[in-house]
Every structure is written in structure tokens, then in C-alpha cells.
Amino acid sequence: MSKMEVKNIRFVVKRWDPKDGRFFESEYTVPVYRGMTVLDALIYIKENIDKTLAFRGSCRMGVCGTCGIVINGKPRLACETQILHLNTDTVYLEPLHNLPLVKDLIIDHTPFFEKQNKIKPYLIRRDMEEYWNPTREYLQTPEEHLRYMQFTYCLTCALCYAACPTTATNPDFLGPQALMNTYRFIADSRDEGRLERIAIIDNPDGCWGCHLAGACSEVCPKGVDPALAIQLLRREVAKIAFGYVEPVEGAKVAPSLQLTEKRITKGPPEFTVEGAEEKLKEFKIPKTIPVEKSK
């Protein structure tokens, strides 16, 4: 693709000064070509204009989730945002909201990850013997997988956390990502820790802090839809509040490989059909199939 310059675009970056503890703004003009992303522009600024600008980015293709910043008032991934698609002459960049700042556009994900860890984001099983010394995988049908598959696409980029109106005022709110992750494990047929997780999220700082603003789903770069997960999670919690507690039976472990191993060692089954060998001789079928020699 040609890197023909299309137009000059002004970038206003709201930066955090950790020494003085204040925000300040810097302005840069960047020649933008077709297909240039905001992350490309930031790299251009750092290479050619201002070496002191600090930002974070890694994969440049929306997989690692490190480059989340607020672009023109909305949290987005810098690497997935085309500058020309913004349709503005001035692009306003800010660090992600509701998270501690490190420097300039870099934020600290620590509270975000701490909240994710609070809801125990791993499979909880009752059979500890199998849990620590697994023999084989847990069985799961594709239909069961589809019940939570959408929620496993999360990058933990914290865009939803920055967009949520409840996290804006309540610093203890778990946030859309942690609640979505709770539902991801509750909906998993292999998990047995449903009640344990619901005990953690059933409070005003948990799933009842959500008021269905849908901002988290709006900004999610992977279509994970945390708003949907939280509403489904609330349905599960409400079911239990109504006294409708289903017995949780985690998925079974796949049968061990022993049987299959025996079959293989036994070898191919012998011919038992009467007169089959005579018939084969009649047709003059060679016992070994000739292999075509390589040139």
C-alpha cells in the first residue's frame, strides 16, 4: 500500500506528570496516510517530534490489549482505531479513566486485575485428587462451550472499566470485566464453584451495581458484551434468591485411555468369515499393495 500523505492532523495529548502530580497537554501535528492508526501516530510522534511522550503498545493488531486509551472522549484500542475514520481534524488523546496513572498515557492495571482475581477466575472442583493430579480433560459438548465462549475472548484491556458509569463514582465496584468473568465461569459446565462466586458478587459493589447503561459493550473491541453477561449473571443470582437452586454437577472427566491402548496392542481383527481366504485367492489380489517409487 502506498504511504501517500493525505492530510495533517493535530494531536492533543493529555499527559500525566507523575513528579508534580498534574495533567498537562501537548500538541503535535502528524502527517496521516491512509490506513494509519492512532498507535502509528504515537510511534511517529515519539520517533520524530517528542521523545518524552510515554505510551504503551505491543502487538499492533488488537490482541494484547495494552494500548487502550481514550480517543476523542471514548475508550478505544489505539492500534485498532483508524485516524481517518474518526473524521476530525483534531484528535484528543487521554489516558484511560478510573485507573491509577503511571506517566502520560500509561495507566496502572493493578486494581483492575485485583478485582478480576477477587472472583476466582479459575475452575473450582470438588474432587481435589483429580484437580491436582489430572488424568484426562473434562468432557464438554460444543453447545455447552457456546454458552460462555463469547466471554472468553476478553483481552483484559480495561476499556469497559474506563467506560462504565458506575466505576466512575464507585471505586469498589468490581467492574464489567470481573463480573463478566464471573458469569464465564458460572456458565462453564466444568465448574462447580457457582455458589462460592455468587457469594462474592452479590452486593451493591458486585452485580447489583450495574444499571444496564451498556457502555461496556459499546466500547469492547472484541464484541465480548459484558452487559449481556452481567444480566445473565443476575438471572442466576435471582434464581437462587427465589430458592431455585439447581444441583451443580460439574462435567465428568473423560474415560481413561486404557481401553483404547488395549485395542491397539491387540492388532487388527482376524478373518473369521468362512471361505473368505479362498475367495481372496480366487481374485488373485496381491497381499502387499505396490507402492509407487519416487523419482
Binding site: 495533567f23 471514548k74 485507573l99 496502572d108 493493578t110 457456546l146 458509569p165 466512575a168 453477561a229
Partner: protein, 153 residues
Amino acid sequence: MFAKRERKYKSTPNRLGVKGWYGSLKYNMEKYLYLLHRITGVGLAAFVILHVILMSSRMFGEEAYHQIHGLLMNPYTDIGMVIVTAALLFHGFNGIRLLLHEYGILFVRPKRPVYPYRVSVKSSGVRLFTILMIILAVLFFIPVLYEYIIIWW
């Protein structure tokens, strides 16, 4: 150690506060319905308290009622009542939507995310129901306006 860390992120200078409720006017419509629901809710709560206090005057008989009533007989109160009714209608119909959607009723199911992503609140069925509720609120508001015009004339 842990408490110190907690305090550190509670005093995040980048926390939006109430500004995060309305954001930058670039979000989906549900976010603004959420804000309106909240404003109308708190407003109606204040109104109900006022309403009960004022209307309790009638237990002291006709005279006391007329005294309070005389205070309220002015065009500003009429405009106020129209706003309160509008708030009530919005809060009611949006509340029906929230009541159903917050328990996952008339909502969508998890699906395989395929680009371009269509999230739950924006999927056609959910959005249609939201718009239907707003249209119903507006339809019920028409007689209020009609009545207000009659009073005004």
C-alpha cells in the same frame, strides 16, 4: 500494605466521578436512558415527599386544603406538574424495560462473536423493545400536553 495500596487507587486523579455518568455524548442511547432514569428517579423521590406533605393538609379540612391549594395555583406549578408527569412516564416505561432486561428476559443469548460485532443492547430485538417503551411514554405524554394547553387557554 494492602490498605495503603487500596487508598492509592481510591484517590485516582483520573476517576471521572459524576462526569462518567454522561460521558462525552458519544455512547449508545442506553447510557443516556440510564442517566435520565437516575435523574427522574431522584427527582420523583423528592416530589413524592413534597406531595405527601402538601396533600396531608386536607386532613385538616376544606379550609387548610384551600390555603395550600391557593399557594399552588400558578403557572409555574402547572409547568412543574407537566415535567413531573413526563418524568414519571419516562421512569415507568424505562423501568419496565429495565425490569425485564436486568433479569435477562427478552434479552439475547451468548453467541459466537463474528465481526462486525453486534452487542446485546444494540441487537435488533432489544433495541426495538427500548424504542417501543420510549414511544409508549411519548404517546402517554400527549394527553398531558393537550390538557396543559387547555388549562393554559
